[in-house]
C-alpha cells in the first residue's frame, strides 16, 4: 500500500515537472501585464500578436527553419547511405564509424560550438551561416544514422538480391525495395532531427553574429533587454508547433516505433 502511494507520488511529481512548465508558459503568454509573470495579470492575446511584429524574430525564425530543414535533409542524405553500408557490409572500421557518427550526441554542445568558432570561423573566416549549417548537419547526423539504421536492421538483405535477379540494377534494387521499406524510418529521423536542430542552443550561441542568429538564441538575447511576456508567447507557439508535428507523425507513421 505504502509503496503504491510512493510510486504514484513520484509519478505525479515527474508529470508535474515535465508538463508544468509548459502550462506556466502558456498561462504567462496570455497575460495582460507588461512583464513576464506567473500567475498572469489578466488575460489577453496582445503578447501573442506582438510576437509577429518583432522583426528580429522573423529573420531568426527563418534562419532556424532553414537550418532545421536543410541541415536535417543533408544529414539524411549522408546518414542513409551510411546506415545502409553499416547494415549491409562488414566494414573494416564499422564500429569506429558508428562511434564517430554518434560523437556529436556525446560531446557537450558548448564544446562543439566553441571548437567550431575557434578552429573554423576565426582562422578561416568561415561564413557564420555556413558554419551554423555544418554544425546543425553534424548534430542531426547521429539521429539520422540511428533511426534509419533501426529500420534498416529489420529489413532482410536478400530482398535486394531477389530484385536484382528479377532484372534490377543494384541501385535500382535499393530504390525499389529498400527505400520504400525504410521510408517510415527516414521520415521519423527527419522529424527528430528537425526538432533537435530547431531547439539547439549551445552550439548556435557561439556561431552568432550581426544578423545571423537562430531563434532560440535570439529569444535569449531579447530576454536580456526586454522582460515582457512575448518570449513566453513565442515559446508557447513553438511548443504547439512541436506537439503538432509529433502528433501528425504518430498519427500517420507510428513515430514511436522508430525512436
Amino acid at each position: 500500500m505504502t509503496s503504491r502511494f510512493v510510486s504514484s507520488a513520484i509519478l505525479t511529481a515527474v508529470i508535474i515537472f515535465l508538463i508544468g512548465p509548459f502550462f506556466i508558459i502558456v498561462a504567462a503568454s496570455l497575460s495582460a501585464g507588461d512583464t513576464l509573470a506567473f500567475p498572469p495579470r489578466g488575460i489577453s492575446l496582445k503578447w501573442v500578436l506582438k510576437v509577429f511584429q518583432i522583426e528580429s524574430f522573423q529573420s531568426s525564425f527563418l534562419m532556424s527553419m532553414g537550418l532545421a530543414i536543410f541541415g536535417t535533409l543533408t544529414a539524411l542524405a549522408i546518414g542513409t547511405p551510411v546506415s545502409y553500408a553499416l547494415a549491409r557490409y562488414k566494414l573494416p572500421f564499422g564500429e569506429t564509424i558508428r562511434t564517430a557518427v554518434s560523437a556529436p550526441i556525446i560531446v557537450p554542445g558548448i564544446i562543439v560550438g566553441l571548437a567550431l568558432l575557434r578552429y573554423l570561423v576565426i582562422p578561416f573566416g568561415f561564413n557564420l551561416t555556413l558554419a551554423l549549417f555544418l554544425a546543425h548537419t553534424a548534430l542531426v547526423l547521429p539521429y539520422a544514422v540511428r533511426v534509419v539504421s533501426a529500420s534498416m536492421n529489420n529489413l532482410r538483405s536478400d530482398i535486394e538480391e531477389a530484385a536484382v535477379l528479377l532484372g534490377c540494377t543494384r541501385f535500382g534494387a535499393f530504390v525499389r525495395t529498400v527505400l520504400p521499406n525504410i521510408r517510415g524510418g527516414i521520415l521519423a529521423a527527419f522529424i527528430l532531427g528537425f526538432v533537435t536542430s530547431f531547439n539547439q542552443v549551445p552550439v548556435s550561441l557561439f556561431l552568432s553574429g550581426p544578423g545571423v542568429r537562430t531563434l532560440p538564441v535570439d529569444m535569449l538575447a531579447y530576454l536580456e533587454t526586454t522582460y515582457d511576456p512575448s518570449v513566453a508567447a513565442l515559446s508557447a507557439l513553438l511548443a504547439f508547433m512541436s506537439i503538432g508535428i509529433v502528433f501528425l507523425a504518430e498519427r500517420f507513421l507510428g513515430f514511436s516505433r522508430y525512436v
Partner: protein
C-alpha cells in the same frame, strides 16, 4: 550445345575473401533436369548456387548456359531465377505486385503483364490472395508466391535454396508435389540445394553430393542410395556401419580383421546398412548395449571388437536383452563397396 550440357560449370573455383569455398568443380546439367545439390552445411552447395545466379563472381573457371558463356554476365541479365530460403518477398508490395515486379521492369504491355501474373498466381493456387501483403500469408503460401515470382520471368534455370526446410512436415509433402508438378509442366531446368537426403532422394532426377567444396558423387537417387562411392556418402544415406579396408582386411580400433571372402583390391571401404547386418549367427560376437522398438523393426546397438555396430532386424524375431552376448555377421554380399574412404 547439346541438351545434356545445357548448364555447365567448368573448373569452377569460388571463394569468400581468402577462404576457398568451392574448388575446381565440374558439373554438366541437362535441359529440363531436376538436380539436387546435397551436402552438409559449409560444403559449398549454396555458394555454387549463388555463383550460378551471378550473386558471387567466380575466382576461376567458367559457367555456360544454353551455349553462352555467362561467367561475366551480371546477375540481372542471366535469365536465372532464384527462390530464396527465406522467400525474400517484398514486404511493401501486394502478392500481385510481387509477382509483377520483374515483368514491370521488362516494360511488358499492361494486358500481357496482368495475364502472366494471373496465370502465375493461378498455377500456384493463390489467385484469391493477389491483393494481400506477404505478411498476411502463411509460410507455404509465401513460398508459392516466391515460386510464381520467379516462374513468370520464364528463366532458363530455376534455383531453389532449401525450398522445404522452413515448412512443417505436412506442407513439405505438399510443396514437394507442387515443385515436381511445376517442373514437369514447364519443363524448366531446376536445381535445388538441400541438406536433407530424404528430400533429395524423393525429388531429384540426379543428385550431386558435395563435401568440402568438392563433388563426392553424382548419380540418380537409386545410385546414390544403393551404391555410395565414399564413406561420407555412405554415412549420409544411412549406411551406419562404415569401415576402411586395407589389404583386404577391415580396419577397426582393435586392429585389422580378415574377411571370410576376398575383397576386390580397388575397394577402400565397406559399408553396411543396419538392415544388412545379420543377428543370431555369424563369425563375430557382440554385446547388446541398447535396443529400441521402431514398429516393424527393432534396432540394436552392439559393442563389438569392430567397434559399435548398428543393426535393425524384423520386430517379429525374439528380442535380445541388454547385456546379452550374441553372434552376428556382416555379409560381404550385402555391403556397399566404397572407392574412397
Amino acid at each position: 550445345m547439346s541438351d545434356a550440357s545445357f548448364l555447365s560449370l567448368e573448373r569452377l573455383t569460388l571463394a569468400y575473401g581468402d577462404t576457398t569455398a568451392v574448388k575446381d568443380l565440374n558439373l554438366q546439367i541437362g535441359r529440363g533436369e531436376l538436380i539436387a545439390l546435397l551436402g552438409p552445411s559449409g560444403c559449398g552447395k549454396t555458394t555454387t548456387m549463388r555463383s550460378i545466379a551471378g550473386l558471387l563472381k567466380p575466382k576461376a573457371g567458367a559457367i555456360r548456359l544454353d551455349g553462352n558463356d555467362i561467367t561475366r554476365v551480371a546477375a540481372n541479365k542471366r535469365a536465372v531465377g532464384l527462390v530464396f530460403q527465406s522467400y525474400a518477398l517484398f514486404p511493401h508490395l501486394t502478392v500481385f505486385e510481387n509477382v509483377a515486379f520483374g515483368l514491370r521492369l521488362k516494360r511488358i504491355s499492361k494486358p500481357e503483364l496482368e495475364k502472366r501474373v494471373k496465370d502465375g498466381l493461378q498455377s500456384v493456387g493463390l489467385s484469391r490472395f493477389a491483393e494481400r501483403r506477404p505478411a498476411e500469408l502463411s509460410g507455404g503460401q509465401q513460398q508459392r508466391v516466391a515460386l510464381a515470382r520467379s516462374m513468370v520471368m520464364e528463366p532458363k534455370v530455376l534455383l531453389l535454396d532449401e525450398p522445404l526446410s522452413n515448412l512443417d512436415a505436412r506442407l513439405r509433402l505438399e510443396m514437394r508435389a507442387e515443385l515436381q508438378r511445376v517442373q514437369k509442366e514447364s519443363g524448366i531446368t531446376m536445381i535445388f540445394v538441400t541438406h536433407d537426403q530424404g528430400e533429395a532422394l524423393a525429388l531429384a532426377d540426379r543428385i550431386v553430393v558435395m563435401l568440402d567444396g568438392r563433388i563426392e558423387q553424382i548419380g540418380t537417387p537409386e545410385q546414390i542410395y544403393n551404391t555410395p562411392v565414399s564413406a561420407f556418402v555412405a554415412d549420409f544415406v544411412g549406411f551406419e556401419n562404415v569401415f576402411a579396408v586395407e589389404d583386404g582386411k577391415l580396419k577397426t580400433s582393435q586392429g585389422p580383421i580378415a574377411q571370410s571372402k576376398n575383397v576386390p583390391s580397388d575397394v577402400a571401404g565397406l559399408a553396411w546398412r543396419p538392415t544388412a547386418v545379420t543377428l543370431g549367427k555369424g563369425t563375430y560376437n557382440g554385446t547388446v548395449r541398447g535396443t529400441s522398438f521402431a514398429g516393424r523393426t527393432r534396432e540394436y546397438l552392439l559393442d563389438t571388437p569392430l567397434g559399435a555396430i548398428k543393426a535393425e532386424v524384423d520386430a517379429g524375431m525374439p528380442p535380445y536383452e541388454i547385456g546379452e552376448s550374441i553372434p552376428f555377421d556382416l555379409p560381404l554380399e550385402n555391403a556397399a563397396h566404397l572407392m574412397r574412404y
